[in-house]
Symmetry: C2
Subunit: 422 residues, 2 copies
Amino acid sequence: MSKKLQSFIEIAAESHFPLENLPFGVFKPRQGPARIGVAIGDSILDLSVLEEEGIFQLPEFQDRKVFADDALNSFLSLGRPAWRKTRAILQRLLSIETAELRDNAALRDLALYAQREVTMQLPARIGDYTDFYSSYHHAHNVGTMLRGPENALMPNWKWLPVGYHGRSSSIVVSGTDVRRPHGQIKAPEAAEPAFGSTRSFDFELEMAFFIGPGNSLGDPVPIARAEEHIFGMVLMNDWSARDVQAWEYQPLGPFLAKNFCTSISPWVVTLDALEPFRKPLPAQDPAPLQYLRGSHESTYDIQLEARLQTASLEAPHVITRSNFQHLYWSIAQQLAHHTVGGCNLRPGDLLASGTISGPTEDSRGCMLELSWRGANPLQLPNGEMRKWLEDGDTLAISGWAQGDGYRIGFGEVTGKVLAAAE
Amino acid sequence: MSKKLQSFIEIAAESHFPLENLPFGVFKPRQGPARIGVAIGDSILDLSVLEEEGIFQLPEFQDRKVFADDALNSFLSLGRPAWRKTRAILQRLLSIETAELRDNAALRDLALYAQREVTMQLPARIGDYTDFYSSYHHAHNVGTMLRGPENALMPNWKWLPVGYHGRSSSIVVSGTDVRRPHGQIKAPEAAEPAFGSTRSFDFELEMAFFIGPGNSLGDPVPIARAEEHIFGMVLMNDWSARDVQAWEYQPLGPFLAKNFCTSISPWVVTLDALEPFRKPLPAQDPAPLQYLRGSHESTYDIQLEARLQTASLEAPHVITRSNFQHLYWSIAQQLAHHTVGGCNLRPGDLLASGTISGPTEDSRGCMLELSWRGANPLQLPNGEMRKWLEDGDTLAISGWAQGDGYRIGFGEVTGKVLAAAE
């Protein structure tokens, strides 16, 4: 895991985007349509320009243009061998030892952008979005609040990765403001619900992965092949209205409490870039059923933190630190379970982890847990208190895998809470 | 509501597709790509041919071709005024009194197909699919089985149209076989769940509506304008695995129990065609909150029936008769509720009713209710018994609004149950 690769592009030591990373995203330059690029240091390499130059001579591309597009879906559909070859071509091209781009000022001018000069967009057209509930600590904390510690987990929780279908139309890219939603709310002491804006606006620290080729309807993906269908991962903030959720969610699950907005980070970090950070999955007891058992179930060591910036705080304040490793179920198990009844996944579908909470109080992944439903408000450095997010608050989640002298980073997903509409 | 319109195309009295209907769908002829048409009697009128001929000179089309497409999405995005004008043009063109197509044998040859000679496809690219739970009798029956008659309905049920996000990737068109899915099942007496194919395979008799222009994120659709965003309706069968559902659904709702397949009928019947069959909505008590109150909440009188054909039955047997009017919540209320927190709907999104059960035992909309969880198996005319659907069974749902001498029909949604994969 020590730093080996060097680019002719200058990359700061703390950068999330060294040559080892090369995450894929969709960006719109000041001029011209959106296209696909990879992040390198503070720059972006425009893959549509390289494609036009004939850099990618891969049989998988079949003479199609896949990078002059405003979404990764075509590239996602090509599968892991094509992803790996593309990555290898790019690592060679950006290496300090390769002259092809390094010494071609005209091509560099065409193909390199400063990240600060472009607008990032959603990485893919997301067909279906699924949200799991795979953090033991999160599920246990929430269950404890609702039903007490003895009955915190539902009987099914350790047998299957509980999940539900979310709303794909309202997934937005990092930096999009989010308006406090209205909904039906029933106060515990009230006889009837009332209509109003949420009084318990929350974030959820999550990660999510994009589907590659996917499967046909009726044709499950066995767990041993699950990772062939996973392109890479992003950070996610699953904004939530807890009072709306409490009133609406029985018996069919969350609906308006979640579907008003979900934010993701713009750069998709590939599983190939994360490979050096693979770790064993936490022990699973009871042993999962056969279809959820791989030969070596694993996860990734990805450090996560959420920072809150209020209108009056001098600097963003870290309110929680968690890790992707805390999840009980692996992404391969989630995918195998999702398809075991025959449900088809398509390129660009998004599957999310659910809130990622750790075992300690300072690693909880949402305000619901951090403030224990408002009973223990968070105190910020300037003395402000927070039970929930308030108007004007900006919540940012960042994440990275820490190597020896470099980081495979995800950048961040950020969003500011706007006051409810009149 | 009496029969007024006559076409030069012969239309049987019992046809679902008289000149008053003109439902839109996507069909693939033996030669050439899929395109958009309307059903008329046993025929289909190819709108892409008419568009090529310059029949639709509407400002809303803005010189775009909208009918030479394998999905209705572009047409849906145009909105009600364009839908109405298109419908008026087609009713005039197909009228016995209009010579333009009637007397042009070459154009008739080009533009008319026999329905039996084409393959119907899904009418639209469905971005997001939502399923409501809006039948009082269905919710009450299911709740009674689970919690007894006193606690049958959750406290929220009469205050808001309960709904959840479903899976859009696995929505298929009528005629597609459906394979019995595998999943985790925990028998009531068992200590642990086991993996196997469902033993309680069910259908759900539903209807669903397609979204037109839709709304921007953060911009709710007021109930008074809801119908501007509803193009038309189809029949739906929400296939369900009840044993999988019972084990998985808490606390986030149904997942694998539903997402293996959902079938819809191919012809979208417009709200304009249904207008003569508008009826008052059943009384709502308590009175809904303001955002769910229109000036004249209404529904439609649409007769529905489900027919079961087993391998040994001589003819399909009607196992239930219901009506769209039995629903407690209107489609306008469903749409207003869906968007009230800011969730955006897009052209081609699909919103379904949930199982439509009536007040009587013979109007229940699924096997779960018809056999009361297996306690009262259905007896078929040949002596066969059914608690649930069995391999080889074909379930067909049909529906129509009955006028004086004509029917505004939906055709049917049908599917055959295949044995589970090995």
